[in-house]
Structures are given as structure tokens and as C-alpha cells.
């Protein structure tokens, strides 16, 4: 037994420390000092996020395997965790007002605890190089979320959403495990590298079924069509803070984990087995997500479908199987975090102040709340991929990354994706239209949003504007991935 190996897991351990701190603070501190919990947690997490950037692993010096290859960390992995940390930090700031609200104050500590544990689960998903650890991470990332979805006790939707979430989540993990059992039957191991070493020789129907089930299992978290149906209902029903967490962090982590699994475990059977599956999934995801998004009036539900289609774009980074693809995927996640959180920030501010979440209520918002509408517009433009906002760059790079793969099919795929951006632009513009162009009297009166909400929005706006133009972000991500020609050795 070599407990020193735990030292490789600096970020996970840091996270657990915060978790324990919150846990004990919540449990044992006197009532009057409880009010500071939200602030302290956020601050602690901020420090932790910063720490991630100075973690020695970022230099790429310590690509470590721990626990006999079960756990792995490397510069890229640290980078993606940092990206997630930033997102979580913004979510934490955004949710401060909600967490301190009268209804939620009783569950405030639990909110932070669960959130941190799910993040821990995501870390494990990303770092796991063994399927058992991966499954545990997956479950840790989704089960507590079900509880979080149910946080809004006053709304039946919240419970409904939780039910739908947990039932589908368990079902999908059952399917996933079924697939895993097939993989195990084929290769006799659950270590990624061991599987990868044997899998090329084990092609056949069983492998295909296994891969399909594995994709379905992770596709659930990513909400790829047709595994996405829970998404809209859960996003709509969950408290907005949880929704924003679900939509960006959970999705981002799953996307990266998906990339790791597809590249590292099944990378050798790319063209034989799963390339075409992903083609189909991407086309379906983007198209169906868009088609549903068109007709939504509820902002949260609308963003749910938008995030479904965004997941399809993220998958372009996976299907590329190139270094550019990987860095573009990470970059896409980063930009997506900022853009989507900006949108959710506005939704949350409005919901907290007026309780309205329908697009119809947003009509004429520019007259009453110009800054909120401006932020929302930037978010929409960024999500739609309009320059000079970051979304444009991320989209462009992810397409570039995909096309680097070079087959004709990928051109067709990218073309379909590009045509779908028109549909997506349409519905994003619908929001802009409602806010800016509609002449109706706005139902939402002018209000001053809370300081925390404003801070979060400013961060997001800054990110949306700066992330693309300031090229060093993407450059450093590409530096991480470049230089490795065979993707399987990347991580």
C-alpha cells in the first residue's frame, strides 16, 4: 500500500478538503455565522481555482499515472479541470443570491456539498484510466445532481425533473454497464490501456454493440440525440443555478471524458466501429436539438435544446481524432461555459427578481434593462458563433479541427453542421428580437440585480469578448496537444 500516490491527485484532494470544510462548517458552526457560508465557499473555491493554474502539472512536467495506471493526470487533464473550475466558480457566484434566499437557506450547505461532490465525480471521470473508477466518477457526477435538481421544493416541476433525471440516469448507467461487461468479456480487463492493446484484435458484432452501449451511456450525460430526452425537462424543472451547472460543467466534463474514452480505449477501432456512429449522432444531435429549440418559449427549456445542439458541435472535436480537434474541443467547452453562463446569469437575475422565464416576458427588455439585454445578446451571439465574440472562434476551430481529419464524409458532416448553424442563429436571434425589436411594453420593470449576479455577468462578458481575440488561450491549449502525433498517447 502506497498512500503517497494520493499526492498525485492534488486537485481532487483539494476539492475534498473544501467539501469537508463546508460539511463541517454547515454541520457544526453556530447559526449566526452560517450566513457567511456561501461567501466563504465561493472564495475558497476561487482560491482553489487559482491554485489549479499554478499546479506544477501545468508545466507538463508531471504527467503522472497513479494507482497502477488507474488514475492519470497530465497537463491537458489539469487544463480541462481548470476550465471546469472556472465555470464552477462562475456558477457559484451566480448562485449566491439564490442560495441565500429564504427558501433555500436551509439547504444551502447541502447545495455546496453536493455540487462539490459532483465536481469530484467529474474529476474522476476525466482522470480515470480504469472503467471502475470511471463508473464511480460517472455516478458521483450524476446521482447527487438528481438531489440538486429536486432542490426547489415549492415547484412540482422540480420533483418531476428529479424523477425523470434519476430514472433515466440509472437506466442509462445500466445500459452503459452492459456495454462495459461486453468490453470486459472481449478483453478481460478494465484498464484503458490494456483494453486498447487488445481491442483491435477483437473486432466484431460484440464490440460494436459494446461501443454503442458505451456511447449511449456517456451520450446520456452529454445529451446526444437520441439519449437527450431528459435534458429539456430537467433543465426546465431544476433550479436555475443547478440548470446552469448541469448545462455547462456536467456537459463539459462528460465531453472530455467521452473524448478520452473514445480516443484512448477505442481509438484503434475508430474507422471500423464508431466513426459512423458519431456521424449519425452528431447530425441527429445538431439537427434535432435545433428543431426543438425553435419552438421553445421558456428560456431555460430553450437553452436546454440549444445546449443539445451545442453538444453536437462539441462532438466534432471528438470525431476529428486530431490534436487540433482535442484542443478545439477544450476551447469550445471553455467558450461555451462563458457564453452559456452569461445567458443563464441573465435568466437567473430576472427569475430571482421577477420570477419570469418566458421569452414572451422578455419582449422590450432593452428598454427597461439595457445591460441585461446587452449581456444576453452577447451570449446569444457568442453561442451562435458571431465574430468577434469567442463563440465564433470556438466554432471555427472546432470545424477546422474536424476537417483536419480529411475525409470527404467529414466535409459533408461539417457542411450539415454549418447549415444547422443557420437554424441556430435563427432561434438565438429570436431572443435578440424579443429583447430589442419588440415594441411591446415590457412586463419586466427596471431592477437592479444583485452584486454577485453582476460580477458573474461581467466575468462572462469579459470572457465572451476576450477569449477569442486574445489568442493566447487557444494557443496554449494547442501547445498542450500539439507535438503528439498519435492521439492514443495524448493523455
Amino acid at each position: 500500500m502506497d498512500y503517497s500516490q494520493f499526492l498525485a491527485m492534488k486537485q481532487e484532494i483539494g476539492l475534498l478538503v473544501i467539501f469537508l470544510f463546508v460539511f463541517f462548517y454547515d454541520a457544526f458552526m453556530p447559526k449566526k455565522s452560517q450566513g457567511a457560508l456561501a461567501g466563504i465557499t465561493t472564495m475558497l473555491f476561487g482560491v482553489f481555482t487559482l491554485y489549479g493554474f499554478f499546479c506544477p502539472c501545468l508545466n507538463g512536467a508531471c504527467a503522472t499515472d497513479a494507482f497502477a495506471g488507474m488514475y492519470n493526470t497530465s497537463a491537458i487533464v489539469v487544463a480541462i479541470k481548470n476550465i471546469l473550475n472556472i465555470g464552477v466558480f462562475i456558477v457559484l457566484i451566480q448562485s449566491m443570491k439564490w442560495a441565500n434566499s429564504e427558501d433555500q437557506v436551509i439547504r444551502r450547505g447541502e447545495f455546496y456539498e453536493l455540487l462539490l461532490v459532483t465536481l469530484f465525480g467529474m474529476y474522476l471521470m476525466i482522470s480515470a484510466r480504469h472503467f471502475l473508477l470511471f463508473v464511480i466518477g460517472l455516478e458521483a457526477a450524476s446521482l447527487p445532481l438528481a438531489a440538486m435538481v429536486a432542490f426547489d421544493k415549492k415547484r412540482v416541476e422540480s420533483h418531476e425533473a428529479a424523477i425523470k433525471y434519476i430514472l433515466t440516469a440509472v437506466f442509462s448507467s445500466a445500459v452503459f454497464l452492459m456495454g462495459l461487461s461486453f468490453v470486459y468479456a472481449l478483453t478481460g480487463s478494465l484498464y484503458f490501456d490494456a483494453i486498447a492493446a487488445k481491442i483491435a484484435a477483437e473486432q466484431g458484432v460484440m464490440l460494436i454493440v459494446a461501443v454503442a452501449f458505451v456511447i449511449a451511456g456517456i451520450g446520456f450525460k452529454l445529451s446526444l440525440v437520441p439519449f437527450h430526452l431528459w435534458t429539456a425537462d430537467v433543465y426546465q424543472g431544476a433550479p436555475t443555478s443547478v440548470t446552469s451547472y448541469l448545462s455547462v460543467i456536467s456537459k463539459g466534463a462528460a465531453a472530455f471524458a467521452f473524448l478520452v474514452i473514445m480516443a484512448q480505449v477505442f481509438g484503434t477501432v475508430y474507422s471500423q466501429v464508431w466513426e459512423w456512429m458519431l456521424y449519425a449522432l452528431i447530425i441527429l444531435t445538431i439537427t434535432i436539438g435545433n428543431l426543438f429549440a425553435i419552438r421553445q418559449r421558456n428560456m431555460k427549456r430553450f437553452l436546454a435544446f440549444s445546449s443539445v445542439s451545442q453538444a453536437g458541435y462539441i462532438m466534432l472535436g471528438v470525431i476529428a481524432m486530431t490534436a487540433t480537434g482535442v484542443s478545439s474541443l477544450m476551447y469550445y467547452i471553455l467558450v461555451y461555459i462563458f457564453s452559456n453562463l452569461a445567458a443563464f446569469g441573465v435568466i437567473q437575475a430576472i427569475e430571482n427578481n421577477t420570477g419570469m422565464v418566458s421569452m414572451d416576458d422578455y419582449k422590450g427588455l432593452y428598454k427597461t434593462n439595457p445591460r441585461l439585454s446587452f449581456t444576453m445578446m452577447l451570449a446569444m451571439f457568442s453561442l451562435a458563433g458571431i465574430p468577434p465574440f469567442a463563440g465564433f472562434f470556438s466554432k471555427f476551430f472546432i470545424f477546422t479541427g474536424a476537417i483536419e481529419q480529411g475525409s470527404i464524409a467529414i466535409y459533408v458532416l461539417v457542411l450539415i453542421a454549418l447549415i444547422n448553424t443557420i437554424i441556430s442563429l435563427y432561434y438565438y436571434l429570436l431572443v435578440v428580437k424579443a429583447m430589442f425589436i419588440h415594441k411591446d411594453e415590457c412586463k419586466i420593470a427596471n431592477f437592479k440585480s444583485a452584486c454577485s449576479e453582476r460580477v458573474a455577468m461581467w466575468i462572462c462578458v469579459a470572457g465572451i469578448i476576450a477569449l477569442g481575440i486574445v489568442s493566447c488561450v487557444y494557443n496554449s491549449l494547442l501547445d498542450l496537444t500539439n507535438g503528439t502525433s498519435i492521439l492514443a498517447n495524448l493523455f
Binding site: 500500500m1 467539501f19 497502477a68 488514475y71 447541502e110 480504469h130 447527487p144 460484440m206
Partner: protein
Amino acid sequence: MELVGSIIMLGIIVLSIIVFSVLTVTTRKILRSATYLLFTLFATAGIYFQLDYEFLGAVQIAVYAGGIVVLFVFSILLTSRPGDNSAKLTSKKHVLGLIAAVGTLVVAGYALFSRCTALCTKLSPMKDYTMDNLGTDLLGSGAGQYLLPFEAISVLLLACIIGGIVVARKR
């Protein structure tokens, strides 16, 4: 003789698994459903025992049969009202369910049968594996040892407890 015993034992186990599984999902009384589940779980434990995974069998009985099923029964009693039989299935749902089930059976079955040789593997002697080994493997950090998952799952369970409490709390 041992072989015959095994075959008979296996026959019983397999049969009960199939029968009780089917009954679990077809019976209209929810409490019975839970009971059939219990039998199924016992039968599963039987498989584990037969395959020389005694510890696993024990866990199966303790956790599943002892824990989960009891949880089910309690919650059923908590939520159901007298005479609360489930209504007759609509044929549409029935068909959908059948399609999904048969589809799964066909695809997964085809996948398995595509590797006939593996399916026909016979039982071979297992390496000697004691509780000692099991303990070491569970808390070791080497290859094939599971310290990290063990710790991770503890966090997961803690989180689930917290989540359960939050959700179940009245306010």
C-alpha cells in the same frame, strides 16, 4: 455426481431467475413484485456461490436482499393506498415494452452468439483466492487493486446520503 448436482442446481437457479424476473415485471401487485425481486436476487446470489464467489454472494444477499428490498417494501407501504393494484396495461405500452425488450435480447444475444467459442467456455479451476487476498486487493494501490475506487465510492455514498437527507427533509 458433483456435476449432476451442479446441473440440477444450475437448472433450479436459471429457472427461478427467468420465472421470477418475468413475474417481477408482470405481476400487478406491487408488493408481490418486490417479493419476486427478492427471489431473483437470491437466485443471483446462488449463481455467485456456484461460481465460487462466496463473498460476493454474501454481499448480494446482505446488501440487495437485506437492504434494498427492505427499502422497497417500506417505500411501497408508505406510498401505496389500499387496493392499489396497477391497472391493466394499455396495449400500446405493452407493444413498446416488448419491442424494446425483444430488441435488446436480439441485439445483445446476437452480440454474444457471435462469439460462440467464448460462450462455450467451460468452467475452469479458479486461482486460489482467500479473504485475505480480497482485503489486500480492496485496499491496495497496485495493479488489480482497488484502493482508489474504494475511497471514491465512499465519497459517492456520503453524497448520496446527504442528497437523500436533503430530498427527504420536509422543508
